[in-house]
């Protein structure tokens, strides 16, 4: 009980979008610890489930970062039933979609017709391709969700390129299909596949800004996906 009292409202784990989620939590007065690693590490499978630590990562520097968060939580596993987790895990589209398009494969009819170069890729091919590379991440989310109340958070959708949308849509379906709760701001805000409104895009062009973060966490509060401890 003593440990629970010291616990933050949330643990945020995942890729670089964890920073925005943290900013959103701060904006709403939610106390959150963050364990963030580059999407590259997640893509490469360097972050894994661990019996003692909950999660584990390859590399001493990253492990030190993980242990610091563990310590801030009072020790023990990062994944526990009394600590809700927001997980920005499983998409990492920047490592998935560009290679798919190396040879000009496109998923949309309009893109195929616009030029002479592209080759058309079926939805089944995209699903199998994405599934191959993201199966370990979805399994990780499933296992995490067995140990802690996990909500996966889809990243902001920036790109007009239809391949991004095709992969994004597939992964949203796949993660939900695996029984993991997922918050999709694009769907919640009625974006209908359009890229994120520029007013919510950070200066680097690949993350949500403070307004975005605050809006995402606000909506998640409204929907009961996150809550302040004791509420």
């Amino acid at each position: 009980v003593a440990r629970s009292k010291a616990l933050p409202d949330l643990l945020i784990v995942g890729d670089s979008h964890t920073a925005a989620l943290k900013a959103g939590c701060d904006a709403h007065g939610l106390r959150a610890e963050v364990l963030g690693f580059s999407g590259n590490l997640w893509h490469a499978g360097h972050v894994v489930l661990h019996r003692t630590h909950g999660l584990w990562v390859r590399g001493a520097a990253m492990q030190a970062r993980l242990k610091a968060v563990q310590e801030a939580l009072g020790g023990g596993s990062l994944l526990r039933p009394d600590l809700p987790v927001l997980a920005s895990v499983g998409f990492h589209l920047g490592r998935l979609v560009p290679p798919f398009g190396f040879r000009k494969h496109v998923s949309s009819a309009a893109e195929f017709e616009a030029e002479d170069g592209p080759l058309f890729a079926s939805s089944a091919l995209i699903a199998d391709y994405a599934e191959h590379f993201r199966r370990p991440h979805i399994r990780l989310l499933i296992r995490m969700a067995r140990q802690a109340p996990v909500t996966a958070v889809a990243p902001p959708h920036f790109y007009a390129a239809p391949n991004y949308r095709a992969f994004y849509d597939y992964l949203v379906r796949a993660i939900r299909g695996a029984g993991v709760t997922l918050y999709d701001a694009r769907e919640d805000w009625g974006q209908d596949g359009a890229p994120l409104d520029p007013q919510y895009v950070a200066a680097d062009g690949v993350h949500g800004n403070e307004a975005y973060s605050a809006k995402v966490v606000g909506h998640m509060l409204d929907r009961g996906l996150v809550r302040r401890r004791g509420d």
């Binding site: 040879r103 170069g117 890729a121």
Partner: protein, 363 residues
């Protein structure tokens, strides 16, 4: 003593005689089975299509780092098992097997625009849509008709490139037997109802093409392809793989012999009539007497790897790539280099790492 009149056989090389060319030489001593009639550029490009056996030629060309036109490659970093399941990298475009000359002619007409891509049927089955031109091209068909149509457009676009880009279009003739739509004349790669679709007697009609029909269709296909690439050279082969089944009413052995004989005759006819068509004797190497059927697997149909190796040894021995290079390195100049995209991804990673630093800020 009177001199014997000189005989035209007197000055023939050993391979012109059965004893020295075959019996004494033995299977692995066969020499000069084939010599390409063309001196090709050292960087000659090849496209390969046809029945199953043509796949071996694609693979052997790739293994020897000869420029095999892969006009419809798998997506970047596609796992090999997925690429295989979706029939990438087997032929120069995702046509799937082209068994008959009628099929090749239909595809050539699609490529030049004489037949509209929408004209060929699509089949719906169990909520999925199948392309009647290549019903097994995707492991579970397509999600909808539009998707199947755009995949067909993509194949036609790639098939066109596989005609325009190469120096040599290798085509392996497989069968004389096939099925057609009685109303539209569309040829099918296999009988409707076999993999997908529903067989309809009266509409789906069996054809066992006669020699003259195969010759007519093959000539017309080459003519159509030369509208896209007037310099196209065609290398014909005949698949030694026997028929799995025949609908001809004959014993399958007899039907196979007819089929292969007809195709072999047509290939010889076209090569004799057109200096830009040649014939490579893969059929003879596998099915001829010297091999004593030893290259057939126990099912007496599949070809063992040793047979394929021997075929390809003769292929490369007869190929003349001594001409000057013709293509340079510009074939993919219009493509954005993968290295550019890699660099972009790396810089994005850097940006992501930077943004993570802020999460340490407890201020």
């Amino acid at each position: 003593m009177q001199d014997r009149p000189s005989s035209p056989y007197a000055s023939l090389p050993p391979e012109a005689y059965w004893r020295t060319g075959v019996a004494d030489a033995g299977l692995h001593g066969l020499k000069a089975l084939w010599a390409s009639r063309w001196v090709l550029p050292s960087d000659a490009r090849f496209s390969t299509f046809g029945s199953c056996f043509a796949q071996h030629i694609s693979r052997a060309l790739v293994a020897r780092q000869i420029d095999w036109v892969d006009a419809e490659p798998a997506p970047g970093r596609c796992p090999p098992e997925i690429a295989r399941r979706y029939n990438y990298g087997i032929f120069s475009a995702r046509t799937a097997n082209i068994y008959t000359a009628a099929q090749l002619l239909y595809l050539a007409r699609l490529a030049v625009g004489d037949v509209a891509a929408e004209a060929a049927e699509f089949w719906e089955d169990g909520g999925r849509v199948y392309d009647s031109l290549r019903p097994a091209i995707e492991p579970a068909g397509f999600a909808c008709r539009e998707e199947a149509l755009f995949s067909r457009y993509s194949m036609i676009r790639a098939f066109r490139r596989a005609i325009v880009r190469p120096d040599i279009f290798v085509f392996t003739l497989g069968l004389t037997e096939g099925w057609e739509n009685a109303d539209t004349g569309q040829p099918y790669p296999m009988c409707p109802g076999t993999v997908a679709g529903r067989f309809a007697a009266g509409i789906h009609v069996f054809r066992n093409y006669r020699v003259a029909e195969v010759a007519r269709d093959l000539s017309a296909a080459i003519e159509a392809m030369r509208r896209l690439n007037p310099a196209l050279r065609v290398l014909l082969t005949v698949s030694p793989v026997p028929l799995t089944a025949t609908r001809s009413g004959q014993h399958v052995l007899v039907a196979t012999t007819y089929s292969k004989s007809a195709l072999r005759a047509v290939a010889g006819e076209l090569a004799a009539a057109d200096p830009e068509v040649d014939y490579f004797p893969s059929y003879e190497i596998i099915a001829g007497a010297p091999a004593r059927a030893g290259f057939f697997a126990p099912n007496m149909r599949s070809i063992e790897a040793a047979g394929v190796d021997l075929v390809m040894r003769h292929f490369f021995a007869g190929l003349d790539l001594s001409g000057p290079a013709a293509h340079g390195q510009g074939s993919a100049a219009e493509d954005r280099p993968e290295s550019d995209i890699e660099a972009e991804m790396a810089s994005e990673d850097l940006a992501c790492e930077e943004s993570l630093l802020e999460t340490f800020n407890r201020g």
